[in-house]
Symmetry: C2
Amino acid sequence: MSSVTIRDVARRAGVGVGTVSRVLNDSPAVSGPTRQRVLTAIKELNYAPNPLARQLSLGKTMNIGVIVPFFTRPSFVERLRGVEQTLGNTAYDLVLYNVESVERRDRCFREVPRRERVDGLLVMTLTPTDADVARFLESGVPTVLVDTYHPDLNCVTIDDVAGGHQATCHLIALGHRRIGFVGDLGENPFDFSAGQLRLRGYRRALREAGLPEEPAHVQQGHYGRREARRMALALLALPEPPTAIFAASDTMAIGVAEAAAAAGLRVPADLSIVGFDDIEIAAHLKLTTIRQPLFRSGVEGVTLLLDTLRAAPPQPVNLVLPTELVSRATTAPPGSSG
Amino acid sequence: MSSVTIRDVARRAGVGVGTVSRVLNDSPAVSGPTRQRVLTAIKELNYAPNPLARQLSLGKTMNIGVIVPFFTRPSFVERLRGVEQTLGNTAYDLVLYNVESVERRDRCFREVPRRERVDGLLVMTLTPTDADVARFLESGVPTVLVDTYHPDLNCVTIDDVAGGHQATCHLIALGHRRIGFVGDLGENPFDFSAGQLRLRGYRRALREAGLPEEPAHVQQGHYGRREARRMALALLALPEPPTAIFAASDTMAIGVAEAAAAAGLRVPADLSIVGFDDIEIAAHLKLTTIRQPLFRSGVEGVTLLLDTLRAAPPQPVNLVLPTELVSRATTAPPGSSG
DNA sequence: AGACCGCGTGGAACCGGTTCCATCCTGCCC
DNA sequence: GGGCAGGATGGAACCGGTTCCACGCGGTCT
């Protein structure tokens, strides 16, 4: 309840408010004895400065805004944890904006990037339009994109094409010739473009290996386990079904595994499966997958943002984090007696 | 970049700052023509009030602080989503404090509940000490506990005893006589006491059914899948092993299932398993479990908090949400042929 | 000795809102 | 017509910090 102000402290210590403020901010221009007097007064009154007043006066909010879609998806949560942990050691607070609809996204993009609301902004996975980006830049709020890309902003991404390439090469190396792809659409309202890029890596790997690019082997639909299951069943119903499927996310890979079970196929004996992300449950399911550094992407994103707050880089930075094949129990040579 | 202030608007509209402020706050004491003049000036200058200044002047922060431990655990995330969604429709922002160590928890409990930081506080799952609660009350920041209880604060809880009772009764009704319990310790540094209460419900159900309370059937250890696996293996190694195990959380139930697989037991033919929480993956694993309304607990918690901000209830409220048995494929009569 | 430098300090002005009080004006009543 | 009530409005004071400017004082240089 106490509402001790800097003026109370000044009066108690017999000094001016300016001096108290200087002590609080570790200004060197205060003599030893005076500083001591102020410090004891602070302790005696149990004084703590009002952050709001400080912020108004300084023009800083000490808030970092984080805009994240569907933050219950395991991969987003893991990124967010990286952000939180890094921010926990600083004076900044984390203000969370969860987006689950286009309206909410647009409202966040419009209202959050304002100097008086946040000092910096982290946008995860959502791809802002050029107009959005222009607004971000005009607002003067330093912004970092994580898991999505725009040439005019600082970004932390992975090389999705390379990841898709890794996954597909792994299957090819095992001897697979007919490899299916299950991914999400690029044209969804949020435009998560990662699935598209992973598909590109898949295609490149096929080309490099001299394998045909069978259009029937590529299935794209909405994100989700059930959708993936449906798409995988379609692949398995082909006259010459694939012997391996690369799913553009672990969640979708789980759907593919369900489809295999429904079709009476053993994994990996009859069907190999590779996922993408390495979310926590992947290890439990022994899913071979492409790991992307989720936690680290949060750490790097917010670190980049904090750096930018100190001194903006002359050019936008794009930090590309490495992906890694994690080989578990859902991949094997085709027709192996598993 | 623009920094249009209320004084600019006043000058433009040819009125005083007070009048502009009154228009902004929908005060009825402004005549129609004047209001129009001010509104056009606001539009022309593209003015938006500075929330910081407003907050300082009003003494409100428009922030709701949420202190949550290990928010990557699926159940916490689901609660948090309920909070976020409810708060998204209000003028309040969600400031997140994630706690993963005792130090951080203590720091949060000490520093966050301050009038100048947050208008209201939501504490999830963490059990504050009496001293903490005293500090909360003294700070004057309205506080609501979710998934944990203290007599002096508003709480949103479930009846863990009843839930443990439900789970155990289900197993008894199926004909099980030797029922094991796997749960987390009450004495962990965070004192998540739910496991203890669920154990109490388990014991009550046994007593009511006239079954012996076998101390060897109760295993308690650290939270986590691996620990649960270890404990379940210990149970299964008994001379007369249980035919069913009630795990105090779904995560632990997964560990129990792993143990069953490792011991060569079929579920549910040789071993029935009941979990607790009904996290997303439970449905996928066809786990029989006690569902608690996670999302709703977040909604109710923050709703209660917002109500309290408007008018504090004379007595602390304890809102007890219902639990529900979700019967899936991991429970069956003992010795059934699967 | 006088001019000057610079450190330590006090306090006014400021950040951008809200609110309260004084003032003005209009209309009504006696 | 004078007095008064009450609605609309302007603007100062305030919220609680930071910062800048002015001032006093002791020491150094000429």
